[in-house]
Symmetry: C2
Subunit: 441 residues, 2 copies
């Protein structure tokens, strides 16, 4: 029976992964997408995909009602269908089971030709994939990546919530170039000019004076023009900030969070890791701390031309990644000059500061440090970096309300997923990436 009765009269009884040889003889209803059609004349195999896995639907000219048989024969790949059928144990079928169809319902007709093949058999260029992202995401690898990403985010929240951090939601539209330095996207906010936030930095610092321990997972925006495999202009950041602690404490928090994720990843995402053929990097705590000076020496030793005080360029990071293959590590004690104004300089050696970067190979996952908690020092640092304290009036005012010493970090979620799943391009782990050249879909 091929029909058009409304969806209400049909309810899914099983996901594909629930259809096992034990169910031999049972009638089930499954919904999904036509991953493949193999038409052998008197025999048609449909590979039906849903969010869980695939099941084989087998129709024969002999046993299947003619209308159903013909409809199945003529199905276009990626169409959305429902099948009512009888589960049949068959050793030769994938997973030892197949579905003998009694009824088919075409719920969403796909229109060939498709711009790419979501079985992944014929690889497509990145731009083709991103233009037809919804099809691209149906590839088993991408489905696995985003299921793991979901678990990673859950684990971060579990861990931080359990440790007493209060989740906050800070504004994404801000009045002034609050963080200074890097470029911001301007927004027309009614009659005013506003900007998109690059981070919750100043808000989360202020909120340590209210909740002491805070975190946020939110979307931020950076108008940098660089077009690389590890930058996007819109990204998700995991931000933590805490009162009465220093850079040492928040580095420990970072490594413990990582260890927690790695401990749980293999059990919670074993199927996805198998699909991706990847085992996440392993760590032993404490994770290695290298000072910035040591990093400069490491680079100089292999003949890379860099002087103390320079920031780590992309080529420098690349070489560093070779020296720290398959390794997470911290870089500490950075030159004060190349870090943001809010990082606290070392009280004995003002030229270095209490900042850290947390790296995986050549990729910076997290940046953080002890923050300045004295108003005058913050004003001085703003001026040193060519920023106007007047633009930071609301923030500076909060230093008159009793500001605790505090420290924290911001971790790039997309980069973390890249590292844990060993992906080479950040676009592989973001549903709809935004870069200078891509605003759609």
């Amino acid at each position: 029976m091929v029909d058009t009765e409304p969806l209400d009269t049909w309810r899914r009884t099983h996901y594909t992964n629930m259809i096992t040889p034990d169910l031999d003889g049972a009638e089930v209803i499954v919904f999904g997408w036509v991953q493949d059609v193999r038409d052998l004349g008197n025999l048609v195999f449909i590979s039906l995909r849903d969010r869980e896995s695939l099941v084989q639907v087998t129709a024969t000219a002999k046993h299947t009602e003619a209308a159903v048989f013909n409809r199945l024969k003529s199905l276009d790949r990626q169409s959305t269908i429902g099948i009512r059928g009888i589960v049949t144990k068959r050793d030769e079928a994938p997973r030892g089971v197949e579905l003998m169809p009694q009824q088919v319902k075409v719920l969403g007709q796909a229109i060939p030709p498709l711009p790419l093949d979501p079985t992944g058999r014929s690889p497509a260029e990145l731009d083709v994939r991103l233009d037809a992202r919804i099809l691209d995401l149906r590839r088993p690898e991408l489905q696995a990546i985003f299921r793991v990403r979901h678990e990673i985010v859950n684990m971060i929240r579990e861990f931080l919530s359990e440790e007493g951090y209060v989740e906050i939601h800070t504004p994404k539209i801000i009045a002034a170039a609050a963080e200074g330095g890097a470029s911001l996207f301007p927004v027309e906010y009614f009659e005013k000019k506003a900007y998109l936030a690059q981070s919750p930095e100043l808000y989360k610092e202020e909120l340590t004076s209210v909740f002491e321990k805070v975190y946020e997972i939110g979307t931020y925006f950076r108008a940098e023009e660089s077009h690389t495999r590890r930058h996007l202009n819109e990204f998700i950041s995991v931000d933590v900030e805490e009162a009465f602690v220093t850079v040492q404490d928040v580095m420990i928090l970072q490594e413990e969070l990582l260890a927690y994720m790695l401990r749980n990843l293999e059990t919670r995402c074993s199927a996805q890791l198998e699909t991706l053929k990847v085992s996440p990097p392993q760590v032993k705590l404490p994770i290695r701390r290298c000072t910035y000076s040591e990093i400069i020496s490491q680079l100089q030793k292999i003949g890379f031309s860099i002087e103390w005080g320079e920031d780590l360029s992309t080529p420098a990071s690349r070489r560093l990644g070779e020296l720290h293959h398959n390794e997470f590590y911290f870089i500490t004690e950075w030159p004060t000059k190349i870090r943001p104004f809010y990082i606290k300089p070392n009280s004995e050696r003002e030229e270095i500061c209490e900042a850290f970067d947390f790296m995986y190979e050549w990729i910076e996952i997290t940046s953080g440090g002890t923050r300045i908690d004295a108003k005058q020092q913050l004003i001085d640092r703003l001026k040193e970096q060519g920023l106007n304290p007047v633009n930071f009036g609301f923030h500076l005012k909060t230093y008159d309300y009793g500001m605790p010493p505090h420290a924290g970090w911001g971790m790039g979620l997309d980069r973390l997923v890249m590292a844990l799943l060993r992906r080479e391009n950040i676009r592989d782990v973001v549903l709809f990436p935004r870069d200078r050249f891509r605003l759609e879909p």
Copy 2:
């Protein structure tokens, strides 16, 4: 001893709520803010607040070292301090315990006069409160609200994650006025004009064809000029979308989620609810469904002038709130004309559609419905609403890839918190609200 040794040498041993009479005689270190100073000459009481509660610090000219005694006497309210002292059982003290100080460390000096009194004893105007939001947030009521909000968000994620919804992160910068209708904030995106997303609507619909069940909790933006107690221009939305279901299913999901939250709220947030002197509304499932036509009749019956086909204005909602006092309820079967283009018209009566609003008293918490899953119908509806299908090219294209029937909703998190905690102004439940007149702090 009043000193300036670095924080590293001082570690907090106890939060205020851990200091109980059982600890009589123990030496502890606590950190916090000076909530109050009562100077009685030879006796000084400091009320010290941290994130958990308050503890009384009692210094006497006789027993406290002179330098410490004088420093405590001269403390300004809201300064951040650390106290090392001896826990002392005393029945007359709050909670039967006080701290006899041996050492005080001023970590963050507050500069009087403060713009408002964060003990809440002298109420301040809303604008004064929002200008000095960081102080305002230290009021026990606001601390309680945001701790409850944290739990509400956790419960939403737990529930949806447990039910198999995959968390997604969709772009907040979009190329075209994707949702049409309501006003968008323009963004200068390099050489291009872009907009801030109002919702993840079209992305989440598309993603049902990949993950089947998705959810997102994200920040969205609406350039509406109206300045009311229930609107902000930046807000957090909880979005759910699911393949192979209808409006009936997602209404059940909504009410079950609400029941889950209410069941757990009282146990997880009992202290905060007590501080707020509030008990959340109760519900019995199924929650009442009223059709739009019934709602119009209810309003007409009390003499409110409204005709079938009109949207519910603010005055109409206000009257409706009186009729549905203390009640959550659904409004279903809306006129197609006043709902967004993507809502599916009823197949037998095209003038009504499969949309719902989920209300608490006069406030719309959630909107949702069955979506159109046929490409031509969607194009027709776009045109009917004066929108150009060309601007929806990427979205319409996904209908050629096999689009399942689907339904979903978007719930305003801020409004949900308002309803559950019975707050009258949305600004009470948002850390740093954004409206037409307020971009700072």
